[in-house]
């Protein structure tokens, strides 16, 4: 090929790659939008099947007929379902989840208050789970059948067979009540409440920013137990999946070829094999984060952690439907994005996936 045609071919290649990328992005957005609509449908339908009269919930049972009719018209209870859905959808897109019955604040405001607490715990647990889980999985795969493998497999197995609420209770009983090694339920001792101004919502970070080291240590000691327990459960899943992916890679021919070059097994495993695996791991980590958020309801109940999960549980028991549905939407949306993450990540890092589409 002459230089001119080669250059033309190269630029064609670029155009094709960009077109492919754009097509993939559009596909992805379409999927996400569709799933999001599905989620809103489900929450809408759930909200409509409640046996409680929503108008009564607002006006109370002592209101006059006129008030009742006025509020009914406002909410649009008697409108056809598709119209009601449309109104609901447009509200949701404007982040209007209605008002909470308990707090009398907009649900959105309540959620911005409680969400950081959930994030702080979930992020720390995820960090622990990943930083420990991935190396453990690799070690288990490279020592297949031997004691390292058995220990990791068994430890993981115990981890994802345990009910998180039970493990939390046992942990509190043992490490807080009997041994006194960590602080108990809640994020901070009551005496430290409201000392540190909220910047990120993560008390550990905020207290460091404010220079309040006592608050920092107290917050940390409250975090240790729930984060360890959730970290262990995350680790169980991550280690197991890492092991499984690594075993798949170690069977491949390129591992043999790279060994035949004379490279050390360390490099073959940690650079080559792991390099082929970490994309799948990102998906696993995203899913783990999703399940941490999902299980937050249980965890936060056990540890009296004032996050989104506890908020939803309290709303549930007070029949505060707006709050429950709002929380469901938020977690659902985050979950959808985490699930779709792999579609985004793959082409970015796997050279084989870039050329297609």
């Amino acid at each position: 090929m002459s230089a001119a045609t080669e250059a033309a071919a190269a630029s064609n290649e670029w155009v094709r790659r960009i077109a492919g990328a754009i097509r993939r992005v559009i596909n992805l957005l379409f999927s996400v939008a569709l799933t999001f609509l599905g989620l809103t449908c489900v929450t809408f339908l759930i909200g409509r099947v409640i046996p409680i009269d929503p108008v009564l919930a607002i006006v109370g049972d002592k209101a006059s007929r006129a008030t009742y009719d006025r509020v009914a018209a406002e909410i649009g209870v008697n409108l056809p379902i598709p119209v009601q859905y449309w109104r609901y959808l447009s509200k949701v897109l404007h982040l209007d989840f209605g008002f909470s019955l308990i707090t009398a604040h907009p649900v959105l405001q309540d959620m911005t208050r409680v969400f950081p607490a959930t994030m702080e715990l979930a992020l720390l647990a995820l960090f622990v789970g990943t930083v420990l889980g991935v190396p453990l999985g690799v070690v288990a795969a490279t020592h297949r059948g031997r004691w390292q493998d058995q220990v990791v497999r068994f430890g993981s197995l115990l981890g994802y067979s345990m009910p998180v609420f039970w493990l939390g209770l046992v942990g509190l009983l043992l490490f807080y009540a009997k041994l006194g090694w960590v602080e108990g339920p809640g994020r901070l001792d009551v005496s430290y409440d409201d000392i540190v101004p909220t910047v990120t919502g993560l008390i550990t970070i905020d207290s460091l920013i404010a220079g309040e080291s006592e608050v920092f240590w107290n917050a940390l000691s409250h975090l240790v137990l729930p984060a360890s327990i959730l970290g262990y459960l995350s680790l169980a899943y991550v280690a197991r999946m890492t092991r499984s992916f690594m075993l798949g890679q170690l069977r491949q021919e390129y591992v043999l070829a790279t060994l035949a070059k004379g490279l050390s097994p360390f490099r073959v495993v940690w650079v080559h094999a792991l390099g082929n695996v970490w994309v799948q791991l990102v998906t696993v980590i995203a899913l783990t984060f999703g399940s941490l958020l999902e299980g937050a309801v249980l965890t936060e109940t056990v540890f009296a952690w004032p996050g989104l999960g506890l908020y939803m549980k309290n709303s549930l028991f007070n029949a505060d439907l707006n709050a429950v549905l709002g929380g469901t939407m938020v977690i659902g949306v985050v979950y959808i994005f985490l699930n779709m993450l792999s579609d985004v990540i793959y082409p970015l890092v796997d050279p084989r996936a870039r050329g297609r589409g």
Partner: protein, 309 residues
């Protein structure tokens, strides 16, 4: 005789017959397959433990009155509340004086019911969506898979929570809520299995013989897809039990006075410090059953993988 038949020190007798790498009859081949699978499972001590646990669950649930006294599980004897473990009460008593051992035994019925109901819903729905999607392809596939993907992206526990908030607590609603989010992986699995077999020659042969699509799906493809579905189900079962227990813990499952294990943990929470057994023992039951399904599922999958080569 090929070189593959050359083995030093191969077993003799009926074991050798079953393990013969070159079977001479269909019966020998099939029996040999089952024997190899059983040996694979048997050699795996952990998988056998799992099998024992699962069988124990089924046995205890069905024959519960043989193992414990029904009245002890439900009669409130307030003078006997919060008794520690003893000969009379192997696991102690709860805050209303009921024998915890008996409640755990009878609670196994609830667990088994949930397992059975969810399986009975999830497998047919998953197969019913996945098989046609893989078999017919085209727009049927696209639509069905879109629907599957939408449900796949829903958070299970949270959705069950919202469901219960709307419909009220109860075991039926819990089962529905769990099933709604549990079926998508089976549709995907059934579709994948169908796709690998869709263009196999024996399917073409059946088509040429005049078999209708429905017949092919039912008699040929579905039985071949079942093993991986069952293995997946066994592995999922642990998660389903944990989710159901979680719902029970939040008060959304079977309602009191039903001895649902998750609810028992919840009501024992306030007495955790001094009467730890009230909350801990039911949770241990959940853990053991979940562990059993995981062990069994792992073992079954190892056997399936090793046979697939």
């Amino acid at each position: 005789m090929s070189a593959a038949g050359l083995r030093i020190g191969a077993p003799a007798g009926w074991r050798g017959w079953l393990l013969d790498p070159a079977p001479t009859s269909r019966r020998q081949a099939r029996l040999g397959r089952w024997y190899r699978a059983w040996r694979g499972l048997y050699c795996n001590g952990l998988a056998m433990t799992g099998l024992v646990i699962v069988l124990a669950l089924v046995l205890v649930a069905i024959l519960a009155p043989l193992f414990a006294d029904h009245t002890a599980a439900f009669t409130q004897t307030l003078q006997e509340r919060l008794q520690p473990m003893s000969w009379a009460h192997p696991f102690g008593t709860d805050e209303l004086g009921r024998d915890i051992y008996a409640r755990v035994i009878f609670g196994s019925r609830i667990t088994l019911t949930i397992v059975a109901l969810v399986s009975a819903i999830v497998v047919p729905v998953g197969l019913g969506i996945g098989l046609p999607a893989g078999y017919f392809g085209g727009w049927i596939d696209a639509v069905l898979m879109r629907i599957t993907d939408i449900f796949l992206a829903f958070p299970r526990l949270v959705l069950a929570l919202a469901f219960a908030a709307a419909l009220g607590p109860g075991i039926e609603n819990a089962v529905i809520a769990i099933s709604l989010t549990a079926w998508p992986p089976y549709a995907r699995l059934a579709r994948a299995e169908t796709l690998t077999r869709r263009h196999a020659e024996f399917i073409e042969a059946a088509e040429l013989q005049g078999a209708s699509h429905l017949r092919i799906l039912f008699t040929q493809i579905m039985p071949l897809s079942l093993p991986s579905v069952i293995i997946r189900l066994t592995l999922d079962m642990a998660g389903i039990i944990l989710t159901a227990a979680g719902l029970g813990f939040l008060g959304l499952g079977a309602q009191p006075p039903a001895p649902e294990w998750g609810a028992m943990v919840s009501s024992g929470r306030q007495y955790l410090l001094d009467q730890w057994w009230v909350a801990t023992i039911p949770g241990l039951a959940i853990f053991i059953v979940s562990l059993g399904f995981n062990l069994l599922g792992d073992g079954l999958r190892d056997v399936a993988d090793s046979r697939a080569g």
